[in-house]
Symmetry: C2
Subunit: 447 residues, 2 copies
C-alpha cells in the first residue's frame, strides 16, 4: 500500500488530537507493528481461498474450500446465497434509494459489488481495511469482523418493484424493463402487515455461519450507501429452517417441527432450473433477469404461546407429520411421500384435509416447487409479554405469479396452521443473475 | 416411562381429531417407532455427560466435557453462567411475577430449577420431552431443540428489587430480606431508558453456543411460568464481547474494537472472590445471598452510523487503544498496562483525559473490577433507518454501590465515548448462589 496514505507515520502530524506520543521511535514502531499485525490478520482471514476472488463455473453448488470454514466465490453465473447450502445465520436488509440520480444508483451498485466481493472472501469492505487506511479518515471497514474468517458469507442483491416505478413515476428510467411478474405482492387473507417491515427498492441478503460476519456485511453496505440509499428495515435470523442441499439435515422451526423436508435441493439441477431460475425470452421486459430469480420474503409471526398449549395430537394433525421424525401421518419416514388418499377412523383422511403438508405439497399445487431459505427469528418480546418470534420465510422462485401467489392464497384461507400464524412483513424482489469480475450486480438492467 | 401415559397407543382413542390411521398395526408401529427414535435422540443429545446431572465442585471454572460440545453442570456452589467461559450467544429475559401467592412463586422456582437442570444437560424441559408424553396433552418441551446438543447452555436466575418490595408493598413476605444493595439503579446522566426494556421481578440469562438452544431455554421457561410470571422484556445477543476466561481471545464490539481486555477472568479466583461473589455476614439482610452476585444489565445503543464517519485517529483517541491490536496508545501490546502519565505532543497525555480506557480502568476507580459478560446486539432498524444495535452490557459484581454506580456516574458524565452511546435499558438483579440437587435456585431466600 502506498506510503502517502499513512500521514500518521510522518513525524509532522497534522492533527494534534490524534495524540500520538512524542517518542517517535516507540510510537512509529507501535503503529507500524500494528499495521503488520493487521495485514497478517487479513491474509489469515482469507485462508482456504486458493486464488483470491474466485469465479464460479456452471456448477449449481459452489464447493466450499476443502479445509477450514467455507469461502464461496462471489462472482459466477448465478448469485451466491440461493442454492448455496443454507448457512446458519441471516441478516437481511431492505433499502430505499434516496438519490434521484441514475448515475448515483449505478455507482452504489458498483460500490456494493466490490465490497461484497471482498467481504465474502474474508477481507475488509474497502481497499484498505479497518485499520490500514489514512489515519485521519474514517476507516473503509468498521472492524468488528477483524480476525473472523469468511464464515461462509454470501451476499445476494435484489431489486424491488418500487425501484422501477413508484406511484406511476419512472424514477430511474427503468420502467420499460420492469418484469410483469415484479409487482408488489397482493394482500393475502389474514395479512397484518407492518409497512416498516415490508417492501423496499433494494434488498441485501447476508448469510453466514457467524452472526457477527453477517451483521458486519449489512452494516458496511449500509455505511457505503450513505447519501444514496437508506436502510428501510432489517431482519436477523438464526437456525436455518430449510435445507438447500442434500448434505444438510432438516432443521426445525419454532413450532418444533422439521421444516423444509420437501424443499428443492441444489443437487436437483433440473428442479432448480424449472422452479428457481428465470428463463430467457419469456418476457422481453425481463430479459435482463435471465439466470436470476424472484425472492419472496414474508415475516411470519408464530403465536407460539398458544401453539405450546395444544396437545401433541393436534400439533401433528395440523402439520400432517409426526413431530419426532417428521414422517407423514400416513406412515413411513421423513422422506416418504404422504398418502393423501389413505383413510383412517370414520373414513376420514389420515392426513387431514386442512393439514399443512397436504395444502403445501407440490402434488396439490400443480407440481409447483419453491426453493425455501427461511430462518427462525426472535425479536425480543411484545408489549403483551409474548415472544416476538416466528419464521422469516424466504423463497426463490422462477415466477411469483405461478410459484407463490396461488399457493399463499390457498394456505392463508385453508391451512389449519394459519390459526397460529400472522404475516407481519411482505416483500418481493427480482434477484439478477451473478456478476462477472469487472461487472456490477444487475449490470444488464442498466445496459 | 409408564404405559398409561400413552393413550394414543391404546386401540380405543378418545379424540377422533387425532386422525390416527385405522390400520392398527401400521399406525401403532409407526408411533412406537417414532417414540423409539425420540428416545435415542434424547440420549444422543446428552452425549458427553458421564453421569446425568452433575454437581460442580468448588472449582471456579467448570470443566467442559472432554469431547464434543461442552456440557456444564447445573448444580454447584455458584450458579453456572457467571464465571463459565462466555458462550457465543445470549437470550436474556426479565419476568414480572403475576401471582400474589408466595407458594406459587416458590413452585415456579422449583419448576424452573428442574427444567433448567434438564435443559443444560441437553435434555428436554420436562420429564417426557417433546414427543414422548401423553399424545392428547401439550408436550412438556416445545421441540425445536430436538437433536441439538447442550451447546454449552447455562441458565442463570436472578431476583429484582421489585420482587421484595413494590411501591412500598411487601409482596411475598420478602421485604425484611431485601439487601441494602438491591435497589433500582439510579438514573445516570444521559440515560434514555425504555421502561419496557428495564427492570423486572425475575431474570433468566440463557447462554449457549447455539442461538436456537438459548431461545429454546427461555421459551420453555416462559411457557412453564404461565399463570405465575409473564415475560416483561427479552434480549438476544451474539458475539460475546467479554472473555471470562484466559482460554478465550478478546472479541470485538460493534465499534470494531476489542472489548473486555481488562476483564476479570475465572482463572483469577482471588479477583473473582473480591469483586464478584457476595460475602457472608456483611449485610444480615443479604445473608441468603452469600456466594451469589449482583447482575447489572444495561442495553447500550451505539450510534454506529456516526461512529463510522469518525477518522481512525478519533476512534482510537476516544477509546485510548489501537483498533487493530487493542494496545494502549501509550505503547506495548493488548495486555500492556496503559501509561496514563505519558505525555505526548504539546505535553498532552498520550492517553486522553476523557479516553474510555482511562476512565474505566481499575487504577482510576479505587481498584474496582467487574466481571463483564456482555453481548453485541442488532434488533433490526429504527424508524430513522439506522441499525438498532449496540452492546447488551452485563456485569456481575459483589456490590453495585461500590462496583458499578460510581463508575457509571463518572463514565456517563466524562467519557468521550458517551457521545456515541445511548443507554436504553437498565436493570439490577440479585443472583443467588448455586442450588444443590433437591433444592431450588434461591431456596435460602425463602427458608
Amino acid at each position: 500500500m502506498p506510503d502517502d496514505l499513512h500521514p500518521d507515520l510522518e513525524p509532522a502530524m497534522e492533527d494534534p488530537s490524534a495524540a500520538e506520543p512524542e517518542q517517535p521511535a516507540r510510537g512509529r514502531f507501535s503503529r507500524r507493528r500494528v499495521l503488520g499485525v493487521t495485514g497478517a490478520g487479513v491474509a489469515g482471514a482469507a485462508v482456504g481461498l486458493a486464488s483470491g476472488i474466485g469465479v464460479a463455473g456452471a456448477s449449481t453448488v459452489p464447493a466450499p474450500a476443502p479445509a477450514g470454514p467455507p469461502v464461496y466465490p462471489f462472482y459466477g453465473n448465478h448469485q451466491a446465497g440461493i442454492t448455496t447450502p443454507a448457512q446458519d445465520r441471516l441478516h437481511f436488509a431492505a433499502f430505499d434509494v434516496t438519490t434521484s440520480s441514475r448515475t448515483e444508483l449505478v455507482s452504489l451498485l458498483q460500490d456494493w459489488t466490490e465490497a461484497a466481493a471482498r467481504m465474502t472472501q474474508g477481507q475488509g469492505a474497502g481497499e484498505y481495511g479497518p485499520t490500514s487506511g489514512p489515519y485521519d479518515a474514517p476507516p473503509d471497514d468498521t472492524g468488528e469482523a477483524i480476525g473472523l474468517p469468511a464464515s461462509g458469507l454470501t451476499i445476494t442483491f435484489g431489486f424491488g418493484p418500487s425501484l422501477f416505478r413508484e406511484s406511476g413515476r419512472d424514477r430511474f428510467g427503468l420502467a420499460a424493463r420492469q418484469p410483469a411478474a415484479l409487482r408488489r405482492l397482493p394482500l393475502f387473507p389474514g395479512d397484518n402487515l407492518d409497512e416498516g417491515r415490508s417492501d423496499g427498492d433494494l434488498c441485501v441478503q447476508a448469510c453466514a455461519d457467524d452472526p457477527q460476519v453477517a451483521v458486519h456485511a449489512i452494516r458496511n453496505l449500509s455505511r457505503i450507501a450513505f447519501g444514496r440509499a437508506a436502510l428501510r428495515w432489517s431482519q436477523l435470523g438464526f437456525g436455518r429452517t430449510s435445507s438447500t442441499s442434500t448434505s444438510q439435515v432438516t432443521a426445525r422451526n419454532l413450532f418444533g417441527f422439521k421444516d423444509g423436508t420437501m424443499n428443492l435441493k441444489a443437487e436437483d439441477p433440473a428442479g432448480v432450473d424449472a422452479h428457481v431460475w428465470v428463463p430467457g425470452g419469456a418476457d422481453p421486459k425481463a430479459a435482463w433477469l435471465a439466470g436470476g430469480s424472484y425472492l419472496v420474503t414474508r415475516r411470519i409471526n408464530m403465536t407460539i404461546e398458544i401453539w405450546d398449549r395444544q396437545p401433541l395430537s393436534e400439533q401433528e394433525r395440523v402439520i400432517g407429520r409426526t413431530k419426532a421424525e417428521g414422517a407423514p401421518l400416513s406412515g413411513g419416514g421423513e422422506f416418504t411421500q404422504p398418502d393423501f388418499a389413505m383413510l383412517g377412523r370414520g373414513e376420514k383422511p389420515v392426513v387431514a384435509t386442512d393439514a399443512h403438508v397436504r395444502l403445501a405439497h407440490p402434488d396439490t399445487n400443480g407440481g409447483v416447487q419453491l426453493l425455501r431459505r427461511g430462518y427462525n427469528f426472535v425479536d425480543g418480546s411484545t408489549s403483551l409479554g409474548r415472544l416476538d418470534a416466528g419464521l422469516f420465510f424466504m423463497a426463490y422462485v422462477t415466477d411469483p405469479r405461478t410459484h407463490y401467489i396461488p399457493l399463499q392464497n390457498k394456505l392463508s384461507s385453508q391451512d389449519g396452521l394459519s390459526e397460529y400464524l400472522q404475516h407481519t412483513g411482505s416483500a418481493l424482489f427480482a434477484v439478477p443473475a451473478g456478476a462477472k469480475p469487472g461487472e456490477h450486480v444487475g449490470q444488464a438492467l442498466f445496459a
